[in-house]
Subunit: 211 residues, 2 copies
Amino acid sequence: MSSLGYAVRMSLKIALLGLLDAKGPASGYDLAKAFESSISNAWQAGHTQIYPELVKMAADGLVAVESEGARNRKIYAITPEGARLVRSWLIEHQPTAAMRSEVALQAFLLPLLDREDAIEVVLRLRRQFSERLAGLECRPVVKASGFGRYALRLGIAQGRAALDWADDTLAELREAGRDGEGSPAETGPRPPEAGLGASEAGPGTSAAEGE
Amino acid sequence: MSSLGYAVRMSLKIALLGLLDAKGPASGYDLAKAFESSISNAWQAGHTQIYPELVKMAADGLVAVESEGARNRKIYAITPEGARLVRSWLIEHQPTAAMRSEVALQAFLLPLLDREDAIEVVLRLRRQFSERLAGLECRPVVKASGFGRYALRLGIAQGRAALDWADDTLAELREAGRDGEGSPAETGPRPPEAGLGASEAGPGTSAAEGE
DNA sequence: GCTTGACATGTCAGTCCTTACATGTCACTT
DNA sequence: AAGTGACATGTAAGGACTGACATGTCAAGC
């Protein structure tokens, strides 16, 4: 389809192959469980994605299937070709930094709320960060040599950063409440912010917040 | 369709409404530009998503359209109903923490590589974090009262955390190279890691790395 | 014997999202 | 006058993904 054809949109493949490579042969069900636990920090996928993908990868020779009698279990094992694909993706593929985070979106839109509501929202986010962080930190893999240790540490570092952000933001919001008493965002529905609408501003004003 | 119906899968709607609310009336083109710059830190969307979504939202009464003659421009403005929707989403919607990050996936799979390759990968990730962070930090919105300041600070905090992770990981990988000389992961294709395949291990071993 | 719940695998409708294609305007330069 | 490039809006094919539905096995407890 595309001119790249390779290394685009194959993260699910890679995640499955990586799990099979790291932990040995497994069934689709096992892999689905792994997406809920060990790899949840890096990628998510449900069984409705996993089962068809395993069939495709078997057809492509990236994994080998073996039907085990008990409970219709089908055991998948990575092939040398599959192992090669994971490694070349890791070494060659520059990951995209595309952001799509509901949390960041709420942070972005925070100034739309008045002070009290904003504080409530940040408190809820803080609680969420805290719970997530606790869930990560109690895993035994962190200091040991468990397989997911690098991703786990990254998740913990970013969770702590988010928690610090929440604390700083709460402090600023409460600070703004003590003096002034008008929150910075509720002084009007449409502050003159060098808007997007180029039609109602003169030329040359569109450089605000540029990347 | 679903039993929730509301507040699910509407992040794009919310992002568009939030931009219109914050910055005033704008065209689809303007909004697409905003997704490349100001809000890129929180959500991404191309114009092929934005134009149809604006049409839908206009039909739902969340935005009002006004055709401006010049260059077929269509100016969209948020309606009171749209503004209500953004605020209720912000206050009521608990964001999902669903992770789907190629960077985290590479971190997760790092132990599959031998030491030299792993170092190369982490160096590349570090460079990427560094560039991204520089791009964020040079924006004038950080300390000022620009609209996206909260999301920007969150992005910077998480970027710094990622950078620190890269430095720590590099240090560990290089440390492991000085003594031992066999990298922790290349001592065999299949270390006994309490695998996923329940069929080849006794019962009770599946608690490793559980969530 | 029967129920319950974990195990195990799948399909399907519908939505989301990306890539590629398609069209036309306007300002500026050559 | 023609070309270039930013402006501006769309459509369509196809893959990715979710949620709901569907089916059946097996072990443990009542």
